[in-house]
């Protein structure tokens, strides 16, 4: 066979094979779907005082802080020298707000696992690891006097909550 005819013939055969392969087998490439949550150790940015105040407000009251409320909180914050002290007063005041969206004790105890997932997700923007979930569940299960308010307060005044 003349080489002039052989090479185009091979090329044609390969083309036909590759086309038939495309038709016969369909591969779909995609990344496996996973929920992404930020690990605590990846939080490197300290919230400014302004961010801390406004985020605590939003997290507790489930609404964006208004300018009026932000201004009054900043005014109080600026008027006291010990910033940790005044931030604590502001947080405690939010906890006492009738609009604070904190689950009741009954709701928490009816599904402790879900409560733990929710509070880590809401305030730490991540899932708890197994040890964290076990520890908190153990605390709640073994202490009937531990209230959701107390747990929210501990989270809001923790070091991790100061970071994002």
């Amino acid at each position: 066979m003349n080489h002039r005819f052989v090479l185009p013939l091979i090329a044609f055969a390969l083309l036909v094979c590759s086309c038939s392969k495309d038709v016969q087998d369909i591969y779909l490439y995609e990344v496996q779907q996973v929920d992404v949550s930020q690990s605590g150790v990846e939080k490197n940015n300290l919230k400014s005082d302004l961010e801390f105040i406004s985020l605590a407000y939003s997290d507790l009251l489930d609404e964006t802080i208004s300018n009026q409320n932000l201004n009054r909180m900043i005014l109080a914050y600026t008027s006291v020298g010990d910033k940790e002290l005044i931030a604590d007063i502001l947080i405690r005041n939010l906890l006492n707000s009738p609009n604070a969206n904190i689950p009741s004790n009954d709701v928490m105890r009816s599904d402790v696992d879900q409560f733990i997932l929710d509070i880590y997700g809401k305030l730490f923007v991540r899932e708890p690891n197994e040890y964290e979930a076990w520890f908190l569940k153990d605390m709640i299960d073994n202490d009937p006097d531990l209230t959701p308010e107390m747990i929210f307060y501990a989270f809001l005044t923790s070091d991790e909550y100061r970071y994002f």
Binding site: D82, K83, I86, A154
Partner: protein, 434 residues
């Protein structure tokens, strides 16, 4: 939280100094023998810019009867202020430095306050919202006083916000926020604006706080960074912080019962910022009996555009200072054991500006002429400690400068010997003491 743990550890270390040799923060091996004149100092910055012509020279008659002896002013437009509450002019309870000087640097409010609180002249720009570079009297006190004390004993009560909150500690590398005073700006803090934000904090029982603390410790152990409030601020122990939170809550409770409707026994229409600032300084005094409290007033600065208003503010601020002294003398623990220092931060220009008030009087600025550097000071206190009814200084031979106030306070409280000599250029105002 962790910083408070640090403070607890520091307190334990301090407690141990009575039984073992202890190297003081200043580098001394043993604490210097205490040689206090009294155990409390109230430093009243009669500030906002007060000219000697209207104060101690009494060119318009005596506008400050609580502090000074003299014939009453008959200036048209003056409001009626109740007579002084103390039984004699405060100058007679101590030494009047009639010709005191703010000798160097810009005659701005920030500079004047900074010099008075650091004992160091500064050329830093006007109204800068930054901590001063030189250590403040609060830091000297909290670092060098022996035995060690906490910030509960050191208060800075400011008439306003702006640059003033930054004066409770410096940016000096050897001092800083760890030695800062508790600052409050009461007219901002205890206001209708802040009421919804801070007046009703959730209170937990002690056993609940313990459980919260245990959970918080667990959460913090699982996080690799320590979070101080990013604005830093001064430090308090847990115990002191709880006391201060209780103090703030108590003020709101008292306000709701109408306890402050006639502040310092004045009618509502005379409840100026200065009057209210002194009122809450008195609350601090009665609650904490601090060893060092600095309070300022600034209402007289209305003089830029209203000279008659300036004179009225002088009257009210003078009345308030007299009330402050009476409260000190009625407070167990501070009565007969307190020295009060009164001083403006700077004066005002000799020449008027172009702004007239409704009485046709022109305003006064403070831009650095000789008159804006001429001020006075009164140092008053207990018999046998302070020279009484003495006047020192003449216009041609002034006595005392603003930079002398910090060394004087340190000397009164007995820690001046521990301050590195390179940090302070002023002297102790010995003329005031027996």
């Amino acid at each position: 939280m962790k910083r408070r743990h640090f403070l607890k550890s520091s307190s334990l270390a301090t407690a141990g100094m009575f039984s073992i040799p202890y190297i003081l923060p200043s580098g001394r091996l043993f604490a210097q023998t205490m040689n206090r004149k009294v155990n409390h100092v109230v430093f009243c910055l009669f500030a906002g810019g007060v000219r000697n012509m209207e104060s101690v020279h009494q060119d318009l008659g005596n506008l400050m009867p609580a502090m000074l002896e003299g014939s009453p002013s008959s200036l048209d437009g003056l409001v009626s202020v109740p007579p002084p509450v103390w039984n004699k002019p405060l100058a007679e309870e101590g030494t009047l430095f009639k010709e005191f000087r703010y000798a160097e640097g810009p005659t701005g409010h920030y500079n004047g306050h900074t010099v008075a609180l650091t004992g160091t002249y500064t050329n830093t720009g006007l109204n800068l919202r930054a901590n001063p570079e030189a250590p403040t009297i609060f830091e000297y006190y909290l670092k060098h006083n022996s035995p060690a004390v906490t910030a509960r004993n050191a208060w800075w009560v400011s008439n306003a916000l702006g640059p003033y909150p930054a004066l409770n500690y410096s940016s000096h590398a050897s001092y800083g926020p760890m030695y800062g005073a508790n600052h409050i700006a009461p007219t901002s803090l205890f206001s209708g604006t802040t009421f919804p934000a801070i007046s009703n904090p959730k209170q937990f029982q002690f056993h609940e706080e313990e459980k919260i603390g245990a959970l918080r410790s667990f959460l913090n152990r699982n996080f690799d960074k320590e979070a101080l409030a990013s604005g830093i601020g001064n430090f308090n122990t847990d115990e002191d912080a709880a006391a201060i939170q209780g103090f703030i809550a108590g003020i709101f409770q008292k306000a709701q019962t109408g306890a402050y409707n006639t502040p310092l026994d004045l009618p509502q229409n005379q409840a100026t910022n200065d009057v209210l600032t002194i009122l809450f300084a008195e609350e601090v005094i009665q609650t904490f009996t601090p060893e060092l409290l600095v309070v300022n007033m600034t209402d007289v600065d209305i003089c830029h555009q209203n000279f008659t208003g300036y004179c009225n503010s002088l009257q009210l601020s003078d009345y308030a200072v007299g009330h402050l002294w009476q409260t000190i003398q009625n407070t167990p623990g501070m009565a007969d054991d307190t020295i009060m220092i009164i001083v403006p931060e700077h004066g005002r220009n000799r020449e008027v500006n172009t702004i007239q008030d409704v009485y046709g009087r022109y305003g006064l600025d403070h831009t650095g002429d000789d008159s804006s550097r001429e001020i006075f000071s009164i140092i008053l206190g207990p018999d046998g400690i302070v020279n009484k009814n003495i006047v020192v200084g003449t216009p041609t031979s002034p006595v005392g400068e603003s930079i002398d106030l910090v060394p004087t306070v340190a000397n009164i409280l007995g820690f001046d010997g521990d301050i590195p000599s390179s940090l302070l250029a002023g002297r102790v105002l010995e003329e005031a003491f027996v």
